[in-house]
Subunit: 237 residues, 2 copies
DNA sequence: CGACAAGTTGAAATCTCTCAATGCCTGTGG
DNA sequence: CCACAGGCATTGAGAGATTTCAACTTGTCG
């Protein structure tokens, strides 16, 4: 393969150049010749809340970067139930599992709130990866992150009670979605009770009771999808 | 980088050439020039039962392929408990997480039975990966396998009862370790009760009771580390 | 044989699940 | 404006499963 050498004249701007997550993106640095491949067929997509980006079982269409909003990755089981496997925040890459694997998506990706996603089509992504192995290395790094997260979840499930795990999950959500409001931090959870239950791994009734118990203990205060905690030493991204 | 072209005279035999898992190995195919790198510093190591290959927290020393036996990957928690995260059978690659991530091992690797492991030292592995991006792609594929396994475990924990999960785990173990003996399949489990309990995610006492219940139901018959099931349609690798 | 680890059993407390009923919220149609 | 359907969420109650701690048994290895 012949790599284009950058010249002042021929240089195409990197399509992710304006992205807030350009640093740390899997798409940079790459061979100059690949920039035009990316720039050409790069695609930005707006999703409304509840809109599906890809369905479980679909053939992989490419690699997606979340640039705004929040995407939920779920698997649906034969009996109609589903498990919420992951929340993908801005800066995260999704669809890379099936991209690397050349197979079908094992999860459904659905926007929880209005979101924006940048897509690199499969064929183009493959071309860029071939020319720029660094991209593959960075995708592998994302895999490693995913492995770490999943293992942390397995360990948490094995070693902590449901109530603790709910409290931990809430703290993570509050870090992301909370805002200081006087003496308290207030967060509007982006999840339905059902989804939150899936995340903890209990049925919704049990979640409801866990929330009731946590509320009674006083640290967390719930009202619908809103949670409040005292403002003390909690970093709110 | 200049790639050696293979010639009848200069060709070094691939060090994994004799390995039962040569096909499907992450180390093949590679650039001919990398073969001598591999061949030079390749290292084969025999482990006794219970011997440690690497400790949790150690810096990554390289990439390991299990060629015989069985390696357990565990994490140790602050409170002294531990979780058995994975059983690595012959043909599997371990240590790639920390290799890709350039970090420390998050798990301890310990032989459950006498085992053999082939090692490619970190520096050499890096060299080969740079010259042969295909290796990286194959490591990424192993990552994807790992992600799939972990997700399957998360889903199983969330959707099936402990008893079911124990039965499923036993069937997998029997597939690997069982031997047909007349009307029954007999397997000697390579795991202590404690490890088996870790794998299911319950304390040993609960495991003991689960085993008791499964035994009473009649399909499985236990005696110490041996399990027997009726021989019917079960593939025994 | 004896000591120590591993595994099992007992019993009470706690937690969770299931299923059914009720409450809450929202959007629609009269 | 109101009533009401439909979906989500909570609550109740009983059955079932799990945890914990302690006592006891079994197995193993010197």
């Amino acid at each position: 393969m012949i790599h284009d050498r950058p010249t002042a004249a021929s240089q195409t701007p990197h399509p992710c150049g304006q992205c807030q997550f350009y640093e740390g993106s899997v798409w940079t640095p790459i061979e100059p010749g690949s920039v035009s491949v990316l720039a050409g067929r790069f695609h930005r997509r707006e999703l409304e809340a509840d809109q599906v980006l890809f369905e479980q079982g679909d053939a992989n269409q490419g690699v997606f970067c979340v640039s705004r909003g929040l995407i939920a990755l779920r698997t649906h089981h034969a009996d109609g139930t589903s498990t919420l496997l992951k929340l993908a925040y801005p800066g995260e890459v999704i669809g890379f599992r099936s991209f690397l694997d050349n197979g079908n998506h094992k999860t459904e990706a659905r926007a929880l709130i209005p979101s924006r996603v940048c897509t690199v089509a499969r064929r183009d992504a493959e071309r860029v990866v071939r020319a720029s192995p660094g991209v593959l290395a960075r995708l592998a790094a994302r895999c490693v992150d995913e492995i770490d997260r999943n293992q942390a979840r397995i360990i948490a499930t094995a070693t902590t009670s449901n109530k603790e795990r709910l409290a931990d999950t809430l703290m993570e959500l509050i870090e992301r979605h909370g805002e200081v409001d006087g003496e308290v931090i207030r967060a509007r959870l982006p999840l339905s009770r059902k989804d939150l239950a899936d995340l903890i791994g209990v049925p919704p009734e049990t979640l409801s009771r866990l929330i009731g118990r946590l509320g009674k203990e006083g640290f967390f205060a719930f009202s619908g999808r809103e949670v409040r905690i005292p403002a003390e030493g909690v970093r709110t991204a």
